[in-house]
């Protein structure tokens, strides 16, 4: 963990500098879907696209971190909660996944490489991400303060674990597909993250520039859905040729 944290800190400082610049922590680009580990059908096809936001983005709430000096020191200026991150009309932190269209009965094996969520500067990084059923979720604490991470799923079994010291790691898994499982910290109520639990590896999260890419798909016509924590969902239908790329553009408006 310690190897990563300087970079994450840098990322956080960047975020803090410009309110609309960063998407929080290590969420640099779209989280790459894990390489499919056999079983269900895969292919050379892909879906790429952009998640857009039309209209004026709502202001993100500020966070008063004065009580956590150690966290506050990792930021500068006014700290905001990056709920809606829009860069030039492109929306970051939307979870995009194949909702339907995969062959019936296809099953995919989860990779054993863990997905990492870090608690750094009293924010979650990444803030939105996907994981496969059975894939380990490694929870890290890079802050010298207590965080507890509480999953409040509806279909899965919840957990509520604490990490009182810096550098702690804990691993958990989910056993049922669920979009999305909210993660929260009871000590710092501003801390929120969301994880999409998938039975297949075809999902992505839009990056800073709103782009996403889902690879390894067999040819076919798919319904994809983009989920955003504040703005709801958008769906699109995409046809993917064998070995080619389908494209999609999903546009959110201001929250109703």
């Amino acid at each position: 963990m310690t190897r990563l944290s300087p970079w994450i800190s840098v990322g956080l400082v960047l975020v803090a500098c410009g309110e609309k610049k960063g998407a929080g922590g290590a969420d640099t680009t779209a989280t790459a879907a894990p390489a499919p580990a056999a079983a269900g059908p895969t292919g050379g096809g892909s879906i790429t696209g952009t998640v857009k936001f039309s209209g004026t983005a709502p202001a993100n709430p500020t966070i008063d971190m004065s009580e956590e000096a150690a966290c506050k020191a990792k930021h500068s200026g006014t700290i905001t909660d990056p709920q809606v991150v829009v860069n030039g009309g492109n929306l970051a932190n939307a979870f995009v996944y194949v909702k339907s269209g995969l062959p019936a009965g296809a099953t995919y094996t989860a990779p054993s490489t863990p997905v990492v969520i870090d608690q750094n500067g009293c924010l979650y990084a990444p803030r939105v991400f996907g994981i496969m059923v059975g894939q380990p979720l490694e929870i890290r604490n890079s802050d010298p303060v207590l965080h507890n991470i509480k999953a409040v799923p509806t279909a899965n079994r919840g957990f509520n674990i604490s990490q009182p010291t810096e550098g702690m790691k804990t691993t958990r898994t989910f056993d049922t597909p669920e979009v999305m499982v909210p993660l929260e910290c009871n000590v710092h109520s501003w801390m929120n993250a969301h994880v999409g639990v998938m039975s297949h590896p075809f999902f992505a999260v839009s990056g800073e520039n709103g782009s996403f890419s889902i690879t390894g798909l067999p040819a076919g016509t798919y319904e994809i859905e983009a989920w955003h924590e504040k703005l709801g969902t958008r769906t699109a239908t995409v046809t993917v040729p064998e070995g080619g790329a389908g494209t999609a553009e999903l546009t959110f408006g201001p929250a109703a």
């Binding site: 207590l146 507890n148 919840g158 509520n160 604490s162 009182p164 010291t165 790691k169």
Partner: protein, 589 residues
């Protein structure tokens, strides 16, 4: 009561013993074996509870430092040896639960209720030997369950030993699902064991006293156990009912203590403390009884004010039912109720004071022998005074506002439960050890153990008063979070070091206990030159206790009676008429 010139031949009680090993030592109906079984089980739990205390102390003294040897604990408790907050709250919960329900309570009631009642009242066994056996074998699965809870997913119950709802009633609040349910089931099962046991004790004391053993010839230990059994009988079902409702809230989705549909969190507290305050006296009354027996023996004098001692016991047993609200002064209960509970609580100090002064009166003008049980009994008196006096602070509602839920309370309750009950237990175990096992414990080791325990005990718990006065809250994982507690770090570390030394000192007791069992000096029938009935039969007593029903002629504490010159004690079975040239006049009290 008639005085009998010679011991009367009555029907034979002790029969030839041709039981198999299992009948004799495992599924035994003999009250003495059941008492020893309870003793071994609760000493085991005392050790577990003590280890949990070490975990708690380590975290408070050295927050977030790896526990020495803590790496053996699983990752869900202490990754890398660093104790997790959820494991800390679990440890706090289980330290309380195990010490109260599985160590102190069975040590006082299960062990000595079983062992002493028939032996001291002159009965061959309990009224219901098979129910007695059942009460032990029901407690065993309860204990196994309680230990098993540590190893289930989500960890053990972590809502405190008081299990305040809603924290305990909905797994969402703690993340503990199975552990809390196991806690509930285990306590319900243990409650059944306690009810069976106390029903047995009460029936035995009422119906099975030997001829001549009138109510006011009962030793105070038996009076105390009798009153305690009544408290157990009436209080435990309240706990069972409350815990069942708590379990239903969690498992069946009922709403007793969950406010969403009109349930009341405070209802749990009322039920729990309606049970809980009598429970507090369950944990101290027998200790008072044993100490009275031992003090009188050590001082070689009759107990001072026997009758007022009995009435004080009864008064405490009665008043114990109307003071439960003093645990709830700051709970949001109607403040007017607070005032009435304060008055009743203040009044309960009176019988306690009577007992203390009577113990001092017993020592006054005596000829004090400092044997190991006596040392523990004296420590009990001294420590109980501190625990009792510190209770006055929290009985005063305004002062309680400040010290409620602080370490002052922790200090107070440990002065009563460790300084009080546990010293009495050490005293009672050493006092009746020869009768239980037929061998003496090593007195030198016993004295070293006593001194170390007494010193380290006070070094651990006395400074806790100061912690509390500075506002140190209970059950907090890391006090350094608060600026006003930061200056207390040194004191916390001092307490932690003392606590580890206190724990280490107990190894001496364990060693003495185990080794004496096999290697100890053979015990005579009456090693302490005591007057009680149990000392008139061999150590250990045979199945059936006496060849013939003993007849009682004397009050319980006739030491240095002017009616005998040959020795300084007059056994309860001794008729003055049997001594040439003596009359019974004057001895009857």
């Amino acid at each position: 009561m008639t005085s009998l010139a010679t011991p009367v031949e009555s029907h034979v009680q002790a029969h030839p013993d041709n039981r198999s090993f299992i009948q004799k030592y495992i599924f035994s109906t003999d009250h003495k074996i059941i008492g020893i079984q309870f003793l071994l089980m609760s000493l085991l739990f005392l050790t577990v509870g003590g280890m949990l205390a070490m975990i708690i102390r380590w975290q408070l003294g050295y927050p977030n430092k790896p526990l020495p040897g803590g790496t053996v604990l699983p990752e869900t408790m202490a990754p890398g040896g660093v104790i997790l907050p959820e494991f800390y709250t679990s440890a706090v919960t289980m330290h309380g639960t195990i010490m109260v329900f599985f160590a102190i309570m069975p040590l006082l009631v299960g062990v000595f209720g079983n062992f002493l009642i028939p032996l001291k009242i002159g009965a061959p066994d309990m009224a219901f030997p098979r129910i007695n056996m059942a009460s032990f074998w029901v407690a065993v699965p309860a204990g196994i369950l309680m230990i098993a809870g540590f190893f289930v997913e989500g960890g053990h119950a972590s809502a405190g030993w008081t299990s305040y709802a809603p924290l305990s009633a909905d797994p969402e609040y703690t993340g503990v699902t199975a552990g809390q349910r196991i806690w509930c089931v285990s306590l319900i099962v243990l409650g059944l064991s306690s009810i069976l046991g106390s029903m047995n004790y009460i029936t035995t004391v009422i119906n099975m006293r030997a001829p001549g053993m009138t109510w006011f010839r009962l030793p105070l230990s038996i009076w105390a156990l009798f009153i305690t059994s009544i408290l157990v009988l009436l209080a435990i079902p309240i706990l069972s009912g409350a815990v069942i409702m708590l379990l239903f809230d969690d498992v069946l989705g009922t709403h007793f203590f969950l406010p969403a549909q009109g349930g009341q969190p405070l209802l749990w507290q009322h039920l729990f403390w309606f049970f809980g305050h009598p429970e507090v006296y369950i944990l101290i009354l027998p200790a008072m009884g044993f100490v009275s027996d031992i003090l009188s023996n050590g001082a070689r004098k009759p107990i001072f004010g026997y009758h007022s001692m009995v009435y004080a016991l009864i008064a405490i047993g009665f008043l114990g039912w109307i003071v439960w609200g003093h645990h709830m002064f700051q709970s949001g209960m109607n403040p007017t109720l607070g005032t009435s509970f304060m008055i009743s609580t203040m009044l309960i100090a009176v019988p306690s004071a009577i007992k203390v002064f009577n113990w001092l009166g017993t020592l006054w003008g005596g000829k004090i022998r400092f044997h190991v049980p006596m040392m523990h009994a004296l420590a009990f008196v001294s420590m109980f005074v501190i625990g009792g006096l510190s209770g006055v602070f929290m009985a005063s509602t305004p002062v309680d506002i400040y010290i409620h839920d602080t370490y002052f309370i922790v200090a107070h309750l440990h002065y009563v439960l460790f300084g009080g009950s546990l010293f009495a237990i050490f005293g009672a175990v050493t006092f009746w050890y020869p009768k239980m096992f037929g061998r003496m414990m090593n007195p030198t080791l016993g004295k070293i153990h006593f001194v170390l325990t007494f010193v380290f005990y006070n070094l651990v718990f006395f400074p806790m008063h100061q912690l509390g006065l500075q506002g140190h809250m209970r059950r907090i994982y890391d006090p350094t979070i608060y600026d006003f507690l930061k200056p207390l770090g040194g004191l916390n570390r001092f307490i932690t070091i003392s606590a580890f030394l206190l724990f280490a000192s107990q190894l001496l007791f364990a060693y003495n206990f185990i080794v004496s069992w096999f290697r100890g000096k053979k015990a005579p029938a009456n090693p302490w030159e005591d007057t009680g009935l149990e000392w008139t039969t061999p150590s250990p007593p045979p199945h059936g206790n006496w060849p013939a029903t003993p007849h009682v002629h004397q009050p319980p504490y006739e030491f240095n009676s002017p009616h005998v010159k040959e020795s300084d004690f007059l056994p309860q079975t001794q008729s003055l008429d049997a001594i040439p040239g003596r009359s019974s006049a004057g001895a009857a009290h």
